[in-house]
Each structure stands twice: as C-alpha cells, then as structure tokens.
C-alpha cells in the first residue's frame, strides 16, 4: 500500500477529484491548507508597513491505494492539476504498513 499526498491549487480540486474517480480511486481525504514552496507569496502595504503574505491557500489531497494503483493515481493528478505555472504544487508518496477498517477490524489492502 502507498500513501499519496498531493498539494494542489484550490482551483484544480474538482478536476483532480474527477480524474481520480475516473481511474478507479474510491476514497480520498481533502484538507484545506496554507503553504508555499518556491512560489513565495506577495507583498502588502498597510500605512507604509510592508507585509509579506507567504502562506497561500492550497488544497491537500490524501489517498492510500494498493501498490498497483499508485502510478495510475499519480498520473491522474499530474494531468489534471497542472497549469504549467509556478505554484502548481507537489506530490509525495510513501509506504503504508497497515490499514484497518474500524467498522469490522478488517486489515491490509482489503480494508482500503
């Protein structure tokens, strides 16, 4: 099992969700997040005082999938979330040791 965490532009959420459903991903968790990478942010002035607004609104998608689904999901996110501009976000992939369905103690990939 693998966990895919993708930080994307808020405006791309619907497109990414649709793309993931299309390749057969059934579950996901969406978080409203703030952050920045190389995009930095912008500057605001209030009575001469300069403020750098460096944490911009982002959406974070988390999904845990079977190994064979991981690459499909990544491709779906890449193709749907890309605008080509700085600030499009990043995808992180990690291994998951176990998964448990709270309802009935089911474990492993079948719990996904």
């Amino acid at each position: 099992m693998q966990k895919i965490e993708a930080v994307i532009q808020p405006s791309k959420l619907d497109a990414v969700k649709d793309a993931l459903l299309e390749v057969g991903i059934e579950g996901m968790t969406i978080l409203e997040a703030r952050g920045h990478g190389r995009q930095k942010g912008h500057t605001e002035f209030y009575r001469g005082r300069e403020y750098t607004v460096d944490l911009l609104p982002k959406i974070k998608i988390e999904l845990v999938v079977r190994d064979e689904m991981a690459e499909k999901a990544v491709q779906a996110i890449l193709s749907s979330a890309r605008t080509g501009k700085i600030g499009d976000g990043k995808i992180f992939i990690s291994k998951i040791d176990d998964a448990i369905r709270i309802r009935n103690d089911e474990r492993g990939p079948s719990a996904l």
Partner: protein, 410 residues
Amino acid sequence: MLTSAALVLMMTGPGLALFYGGLVRRKNVLATMMQSFAMMCIVTVLWAIVTYSLAFGPGNSFIGGFHYLFLHHVGLSPDPDYGATVPAQTYMIYQLMFAIITPALICGAFAERMKFSAMCLFLALWTFVVYSPMAHMVWGKGGFLNAALGGRVPCLDFAGGTVVHITSGVSALVCALYMGKRVGYPKEPSPPHSVVLSFIGACLLWVGWFGFNAGSAVAANGLATSAFVNTHFATAAAAISWSIAEWIRNGKPSALGAISGAVAGLVAITPASGFVQPMSALAIGAVAGAFCYLMVTKVKSWFGYDDSLDAFGVHGAGGTIGAILTGFFATSAINPIFGAGKATGAIDGNWHQVLNQLTGVAIAWGISIVGTLILLKLVDMTIGLRVTREEEIEGLDVTQHGEEGYDFAS
C-alpha cells in the same frame, strides 16, 4: 445644533469604533470597539455631574469652577456667551460629544494591549486633568487662550485642533511610549483584520465631521457654511495628497491610505474651519495629507514607538500642523473675530497670530504630556495598565470581555 450634536456622537460610535476596530487583529475587534463605546457612556455621566462645569463653568483662566455642578444653572434659556440663540443645554450636549470622542481617539495608541479596567479609569481621569482645563482655556469664558471671550493669548481654534486633536494625539504618543510595544512588534505582522470596517468608519467620520466643524459656529449661518465647505475641501485634498505620496513610494494607492489621508485632512482643518477661505482649506488639506503620511510611515519607524493605530501620527501631527496653519490662513473676511476690519491671521498681515497659535500648541502639548504621564503612572501603580503577555496573545476580546467578534463555527 441638535443635529450637529448627533452627528458628532456618530463619529465615535459607530465611526471611530469601526475605523479602529477594522485596523486591529481579529482577536481584538470587540475590545477596541468597546473602548469607544465605553467613552460614550463614562464621559457622559461625568459630564452631567462635574466635567461640564470644569470645562465651561465660570472659573479662572485655566479651569472652570463648580457653578454648573450637576448641571445647576444649565437650563433651557440661552447662555449668551456661548450661544445667544440656542438653549444652554443644547450647547452643553453638543460640547459633550467632543469630550467623548477626544479620549476615544487616544485608544488608537494603546490598542491591543491595555486592560479594559485600566482604560476606563485612565481615560475618566484624563477628562478631568487634560480635557477640562484645555477646553476651558480655549473655549471657556475668560480662558487663557480664548480668542472671543477675553483670553490673554487669543489662540484660534474653531472646532478643536488643540483641545481635541493635539491633546488626544500627544497623549496617545505618551501612552505608546510609556506602555511599550505590543508583543511581537514590529517583527510579527499585525495587519488590519478588515480594511472594509475601517473604510465604513472613515466615511462616517467624514460625514459626522460636518457636525463637528460646521456645528461649531453654534448657529445656522454663513460661518457654519464656511466651516462646512472648508471641512469638505480639506478632506478631499488630504486624501489625494496622501494617496499620491503612497503611490510614488509603494507603487500603489491603497484604500487604507486614502481614508487615512481623509482623516488627516479632517483633523488639520478642524481649528481653521471657521477662519479660512476655501482655497486655503485645499492648501491645508494637501499639506496635512503628505505630512501625516510621513509621520506615520517614516517618523514612527525612525523612533520605533508602537502607536498601534497612529493616533499620534494622524491626530497629534495633523492637529499641530492645522493649528499652526490656522495662524497663517485665518482671515477677517471669513470671521472678523478680533473686530471688523482688524487683521486676523498672517494672511491679513497679523503675523503675531502665528505666535499665539504656537503658544496654544505648546500649552496643549505640555498639559497632555504632563497630565497623561502622571495618570498612567497612577493607574499603573494601582491596578496595572497592561494585560499579561498570555492574555495579549490570546486576544482582548476573550480575555477582557469573554466573547469573540466573529464566530465562524456557529
């Protein structure tokens, strides 16, 4: 006059409450608005009991006496010295609205860090120690600086450049210096949580100010019109000059800059409004806008004091420049206060008036610095001025009032 009085009250609530409320962080919005509202209530009761008497009752050159205690002798027949055509109580209630907004203006300096209890005590005492004597000196009969009723040094102050804006602005500076900076200032950003609220507040201030300045003619006459026109002209000019200064320096004219410039213009024209020609009003506004911009953006950071909402930079600086410029631009063509045909300001050839204005300014600065320092020390030693560091970080709304301005969860 009653309408003007109502307009001036509108300047404090909701005008100033919104203006200041928008400029603080979200966790302090109610506490900041409550400061203005508390003044509406506390100063009113004190005024009814004793401070009106101290400001406008018969007394010596520096303070009134107790003749008007509990509003005795302040009835519905006119007091010819203050307003021959309006009931004495009309004049009293009109002047009350000035006494309310003046301490409320100071709140801008210590916003986001003073205890509510300390604020109430300090400002209540302040109306005795600073406001009442200053109002008596400038507007009270026989006051030391009174230009119309037998003062020794006739200082021209039509609607409160010295009495309202210098006293509040300079006291604000003393508060900012005495109390020290907010936690995290200037490293952590503390941008306004809603320029929208401030915008509405500033526009209410602009409208209310017609009551403040035109009403100070204490009659519906040509002088009132003159003050109304000057108020409007200076405000527009100041908003433009602040915006241009900002546009040149930052590349963008901000909404907060435009409204701050407007308030600076309103402040600066206040002492001059019933003495100058409309073209002079444009000039006073243009100077005040750029001057206050410099005070707020440059001078404040040079000296490093934390005047949170720029009460000194706008009211202290704008009031001072306005009081001095009044000495230059006052003309007998608008208001022959020294007698028909007699020169009023420098523009008429009476350069000595500039000196009189400077005397008034110096006295206003002096009484504000000394009075405020003593009172701050007193309150600090008794009940303490500042909230704790933890309370300050959590916000004054929750820690001082037990509520929040915005509950997005419900």
